[in-house]
Assembly symmetry: C2
Homo-oligomer: 346 residues x 2
């Protein structure tokens, strides 16, 4: 899922998203709640109509951003009190408000409201946080059950927490399955922990999640990380990397990342990646892209963003094809091996 934090996938138009064959995008509840605010999005007919995107939208619950962006948080049983990061005005989001916001946005996949504990945290902290999260998740699902239009409700995804502790991840997963969600996410990953710990957190959770429901690793990752996560049973990802690093001139290829500012591309007539059929690679040289990035021209980051999204979406399409053909194990080995040399440059 390309990430459209503030009601737009950064630097990309809805027409371009369609052409990239994006199946679904992510919107950030916290950001949209703070700006433009719900009154605007309600008046304009919901997030789809507001941003001109008629495909599916998954919205996060706002929990993660409250914990990573907002100031002066105070967590109570009720929810999270905070000052928003734009003008410092006092706000509150609890499970019910999060569901109400996502309902107003018109989300197709709604995420449960959870607390994302910091990394590192002790077993005791993680256990206490998980218990609160489970109560919040129950209240999230109950909000929808109590509505008259429950039959037309969006898909609801629960979020596994439990930090880096196997017993807590298992407890979280089992409790969520008991509640009965449409899909299951693994949260509290990619929050600064080493990669093996991130993989372990997923490995602790996945065996306890039903195979016939989508499994979603939140906020990931590099191309090899995604392939490795698929090998562990993950179906869905969202990640800001392809759009974020493009704005700094970094392009993804199967061999690793390229920094398009690099002087070695000054006279390079080739495309970002040989064989790529994205708009950038079909029409422009590395030399031109380097010039645009050096000259701080918006077209440069636009073209690299298109390439990177094409690369990410193409990688997942390839992964699906390899899985269906029964050749995924071989693909995984070759792809992860071939990418590793440049891995550290992201």
């Amino acid at each position: 899922m390309p990430v459209g934090t503030q009601g737009t996938v950064k630097a990309v138009s809805p027409r371009e998203l369609r052409e990239l064959q994006a199946q679904i995008i992510l919107g950030n509840t916290y950001h949209l709640f703070v700006r433009p605010g719900l009154d605007v999005i309600r008046k304009l007919g919901g997030l789809h109509k507001f941003m001109g995107w008629d495909g599916p939208i998954l919205t996060d619950s706002g929990g993660f951003q409250v914990f990573s962006l907002a100031k002066l948080r105070r967590i109570t049983e009720e929810g999270a009190h905070f000052q928003n990061h734009l003008d410092g005005s006092p706000c509150f989001i609890g499970p019910e408000t999060s569901m109400e916001i996502q309902h107003t946005l018109g989300s197709d996949i709604v995420m449960a409201f959870d607390e994302c504990p910091p990394h590192p945290c002790t077993h005791e902290q993680a256990a206490r946080s998980l218990d609160l999260t489970l109560r919040w998740e129950q209240r999230s699902i109950d909000w929808w059950a109590g509505r008259n239009d429950a039959g037309q409700r969006p898909l609801l995804f629960g979020i596994v927490q439990g930090s880096s502790y196997a017993d807590l991840r298992e407890k979280s997963a089992r409790a969520l399955v008991e509640m009965g969600w449409d899909g299951y996410a693994v949260g509290g990953v990619s929050v600064g922990e080493p990669e093996p710990e991130m993989m372990a957190a997923v490995e602790y959770a996945v065996p306890h999640l039903p195979e016939d429901r989508p499994r979603y690793a939140m906020g990931l990752g590099t191309p090899p990380q995604m392939v490795e996560m698929v090998a562990r049973g993950i179906d869905m990802f969202d990640c800001v990397l392809p759009t974020r690093v493009a704005r700094n001139g970094t392009a993804f290829t199967a061999a690793g990342t390229l920094n398009m500012k690099n002087a070695c591309y000054t006279l390079d007539e080739g495309p970002i990646e040989e064989g790529c059929d994205c708009y950038a690679c079909a029409n422009f040289s590395r030399a031109y892209l380097r010039h645009l990035v050096k000259a701080e021209e918006i077209l440069g980051l636009r073209l690299i963003t298109l390439h990177n999204l094409h690369f990410y979406l193409g990688l997942m399409a390839r992964v699906r094809a390899e899985l269906e053909a029964g050749t995924f194990a071989d693909f995984r080995r070759k792809f992860v091996g071939g990418y590793k040399a440049h891995r550290e440059s992201v």
Copy 2:
């Protein structure tokens, strides 16, 4: 002509330029000479191929930018010595170097190398500057006459100078016609002088320029200024306004400019301009554009840029149609009258 200073019309892709039905764009010789430099553009097969634009390109001579951007200028009979504005390294552009650069770029319409006197300047200063410019323009045209491939040369346009003095503008125009250019530009306008003085400079020159050759007012202007210039016999314009002001959230309409940051658009479901069929107006509300501009999202300035270019190109298409229908005088009166109310906001 949309302006593509550094090898891209800012924030716009070549595909979008085609869809906007841009017939020709402008490239800036000085900027491209300084970055990426001629070695890069030569190696990449010329400016058209470098930037992926297969339509016509007009390049300026670099003269105006040497006088407006570069540091430590020293003007001699030979040309202009200066330090470039990026790294301060010493550069030289004279008439022959300007022609050679434009030849390397692969320009379709080449502008003569001229000196652009400051505003205001005395009659004596303006006269001395004009004499130098006329010698430089003769050397510009001679450079092409001396080549073996003279039969395949691009179109060459001379530039009328003479500041705000009627006798000098007339002298300049007559001397250029004597040299025999493919087209004639009026330069040294829109350099800080009041609008009546700008109109007068054009009025002094145009009667002395042949009717069967294109007449081009350089670096203009607002929508009513362009319509007024057409009424005075001008055929061609280049202007950074539609792209530049878009990046600050300003949109053009037939009634004047709109500042999309304005709070009055917060809940406005309408398009920038009713009846406009550009991509921005066909798909997005003022409320969404305001949100994007406030949130500093690149898509916001992209969409306003597309609208503004569509507006400028559409205005000129309309002007051509009105001229052909013999109804231009009526159109001019209504358009300029209807626009004036908001004029000061650009």
